[in-house]
Symmetry: C2
Subunit: 312 residues, 2 copies
């Protein structure tokens, strides 16, 4: 059995998984922000609790993996820093001893989600998988030959900070024109706002924006579903940029599949259909074998399962 | 010992290499265009000749690798098609039997060059290397953990067809704004031409263009060396785009180093200095550890050595 831990800014979740990655049970407590000793004690307590609840001896646990937000040093199993946890330089290597005398692995939460989806979710059975997460920002993770690829300094996979519009929109990372500026949920909202502000076209989104003060990605999707032409145009523009980014990733890496996660992926087939068609048109391929593009299937469990499956 | 073969549109080169990849000796004949049987006979003849010339028994050869232009099927060791060779569907699996009863591997020439540079050239000692070739077009190759990464359908590494200017210049591949349109040797010439045509600025390149009818990448570099301000501006613009592409590759893959080959790399440190500085500013890094960027060191031998080192 393996234990996977998702250290989030709100909740701490600990899961017991089969060696294959199948989730057996999980337990959640609120994350003790700014209290590293309390946090470690909670982790250990929950690790024991998930085993106890299934009558599993601690000796049958072979490894423990942690998905963390922010920066870390994999080699020493040390979490360095994340703004929303209000703690720094916390080493987890000995946290579970003596009850669990096993290796403790650590990686960032986006990478863990990618590994989980690649091994047990939408990418199951594939060797090389790229996951892209479309949320407030755009994140990613790369799995090669069934293992996380993290590159030099363990910071590979910053897919959102690939520039697709040289000299374009200013990104928080300092570059201009990053994919994140065109494919986050916020970007979809911006495109709708710009369309409204740049013209007089009628749209149900105008009244909604006035009423709510602010639009969300889902509002654009809902308006599009209801037949709103402006929402449809903004969404089409969003899909063009996303397909541009995906075709870039494919031309460089030719993964066996691309998995899309994050809030925007909740739009499901209505997102996938246009994105698949646009991407297939732009990507290098053999014959008509376009790279499969799927939505993530594990939801919040992806990071937990991926953390459990970390192995170096 | 290993044998590496570079099947080019002009010459066929066959090399004998140590198991480590060190080149021992090589022989060259003109490529028999449109004559697959003659080509195979030449390959075998040269393979025997390089061994004979060093008194190496054919039994001591452990593998043979071919770098080919155009499309191929790795699994069956079959070269499918390349315009400039005027032949199609040539299988090399049995070409060297019975004299050499060893596995025959095959990959594209750009990938072979990347593997050669990663193992024995500028990337020697590094695990993960991305090579980018700046010539008439922009090519590339990816080496992960000391092995070629070719992805699904063996067509990964099309770095030149990553869009960096969405909706930009039309590329031959069908996309718009590909790196190849901004970072090939031709792109550098185009930037100088556009600067001349778009303004009245004085430049030694005007007279040169009138005299030669057409400029080449080296002309822009030479003019810049001689203090030509317009050439310097065009070159600076070229370096901006190249740094954009390299920072994209780094943010996605975080290789241990990037190796630059192809004609433009002949400009050496004068290319590297600005590109390193611009790339370091844009890439994700830990502290100030920017990704090393080097020029290729093996020249035309890179593909030969890489072919010899193919192993799957």
């Amino acid at each position: 059995m393996k234990i996977g831990i998702d250290l989030g800014g709100t909740n701490l979740v600990v899961a017991l998984c089969q060696e294959s990655g199948e989730l057996v049970t999980k337990q959640t407590v609120p994350t003790k922000i700014g209290d590293p000793e309390g946090l470690k004690a909670d982790m250990k307590m929950l690790a024991k609790k998930v085993c106890d609840s299934k009558g599993i001896s601690y000796k049958h646990v072979t490894s423990i993996g942690l998905g963390v937000p922010g920066s870390f040093v994999k080699e020493t199993c040390t979490f360095e820093f994340a703004t929303n946890l209000e703690m720094s330089n916390v080493c987890f290597a000995d946290t579970f001893k003596p009850d669990f005398d096993v290796p403790v692995y650590l990686d960032n939460d986006a990478n863990c989600a990618a590994l989980g989806e690649a091994l047990r979710g939408a990418g199951r059975g594939m060797r090389n998988v790229v996951m892209i997460t479309l949320g407030t920002g755009v994140g990613g993770g790369i799995v090669i030959d069934g293992k996380l690829y993290t590159g030099s300094n363990n910071i590979a996979g910053e897919i959102g900070h690939m520039v697709i519009v040289a000299g374009g929109d200013q990104c928080n990372c300092g570059r201009r024109g990053c994919l994140e500026r065109y494919c986050s949920a916020n970007a979809l909202v911006r495109m709708a706002n710009e369309a409204m502000d740049g013209g007089a076209e009628e749209s149900s989104l105008r009244a909604l924006r006035d009423a709510k003060g602010k639009l969300y990605g889902k509002d654009i999707c809902d308006a599009r579903d209801a037949g709103d032409a402006l929402a449809d145009k903004a969404f089409d523009q969003y899909c063009d940029y996303l397909a541009c980014g995906l075709a870039n990733l494919i031309n460089i890496m030719q993964p066996d599949c691309i998995v899309i996660g994050g809030g925007v992926s909740g739009y499901g087939e209505k997102l996938l259909a246009p994105v698949r068609e646009k991407t297939a048109r732009e990507q290098f391929k053999v014959g008509d074998k376009a790279t499969p593009i799927m939505v993530a299937t594990l939801g919040n469990d992806a990071g937990l399962i991926g953390a459990a499956m970390l192995n170096r």
